[in-house]
């Protein structure tokens, strides 16, 4: 896809960028000229890739290592971006955890951890970033939900509950923050052919291909492209929306 540098100069933070959709989002943002803070947990794990992205796309991709469930670390990360660039234009809450189990098999400790990662940490980052964005009177926040948060699915009650929470928190945040010209939207991907999911798909869900109208898994880039749109000034009147990117999937 030809780049039009539509995010030139925008300061973006993307969480969960060590692989999959997060990695694609960073690459597309960099390709469009954004300055990207790419979050990962493991110190040093994305240094080389970030450097490559910076050179390839003639911009700056900065690794930012922190655990999104660590409130102090989140605050330090936001303050670092503010100190370095004075603003945050875009926050993409992409980091997440996924489990697959039938209702009787739900492990409640694991469920609490998943809510901490997928919901509580997201609220924390929305809170912190919006405090910076409200001063600049602009910003775009993009939260990663899922088609299972919209439709529900057999065998993923816990995960779908967290992604349903993402939808409601997105709608409420959009209502509260629009007075500061901060837009908040969510993306609800269907089945995406990341390395991680492709393996799960081959093992467990191969027969589910018939559920996907378009007949194939999504490419991570196809999710990232919608993130580009929501981060850009092409979507200045879009807020509080849950955008399905699912190739007409139904469960």
């Amino acid at each position: 896809m030809k780049s039009h540098r539509i995010l030139e100069g925008k300061i973006c933070l993307v969480t969960g960028t060590n692989r999959g959709i997060g990695q694609s989002i960073v690459e597309r943002y960099a390709e469009e000229g954004a300055i990207v803070f790419a979050n990962a947990r493991k110190e040093g794990s994305i240094d080389e890739w970030a450097q490559t992205c910076s050179e390839k796309y003639n911009t700056t991709v900065i690794p930012l290592y922190f655990d999104i469930t660590d409130a102090v670390a989140c605050k330090e990360a936001i303050l670092k971006i503010k100190a370095d660039y004075g603003r945050i234009d875009v926050l993409v809450n992409n980091a997440g955890m996924v489990t697959y189990e039938l209702l009787p098999m739900i492990d409640f400790n694991q469920l609490r951890t998943m809510f901490d990662i997928n919901v509580i940490a997201m609220i924390q980052l929305v809170q912190l970033a919006s405090r910076v964005m409200s001063r600049q009177k602009s910003g775009s926040i993009i939260n990663m939900s899922s088609i299972v948060g919209v439709q529900g699915v057999k065998g993923q009650l816990g995960y779908s509950a967290t992604k349903g929470a993402v939808i409601s928190l997105t709608k409420s945040a959009a209502k509260e923050l629009i007075e500061h010209n901060i837009r908040v939207n969510a993306i609800a991907p269907g089945m995406v052919g990341t390395e991680r999911f492709t393996q799960v798909f081959e093992e467990k869900f191969k027969d589910k291909i018939t559920n996907i109208g378009i007949g194939r898994l999504a490419e991570p880039n196809e999710i990232a492209n919608v993130c580009v749109f929501l981060a850009s000034d092409l979507s200045t009147y879009v807020t509080g929306q849950i955008i399905g990117v699912d190739g007409s999937t139904s469960f």
């Binding site: 936001i78 303050l79 912190l128 405090r131 409200s134 001063r135």
Partner: protein
């Protein structure tokens, strides 16, 4: 401007009062228009004035002129 003058100016501006009325008794219980919206405005203005970022529990507890000083001091602002 001294730190105290800066602190007082923020209060004076947010509550639209003269600096002379500010005292340790100036609080959410004694001031009519001290609601959650005003409290957020106060905190935001305080953060901008001192270039700090308060934690959520400090935002919640910022309910008086006196307590506010203690909170701001936690972030390295010395009166």
């Amino acid at each position: 401007m001294s730190v105290l003058e800066n602190y007082n100016t923020v209060f004076s501006s947010v509550f639209n009062v003269d600096v002379s009325v500010l005292s340790d008794d100036f609080s959410s219980t004694s001031v009519d228009n001290w609601d959650s919206i005003t409290q957020l405005s106060l905190v935001t203005a305080m953060e901008d004035a001192f270039d700090i970022m308060l934690d959520p529990e400090d935002i919640l507890n910022f309910k008086s002129y006196a307590v506010g000083k203690e909170i701001v001091a936690k972030y390295g602002v010395t009166f």
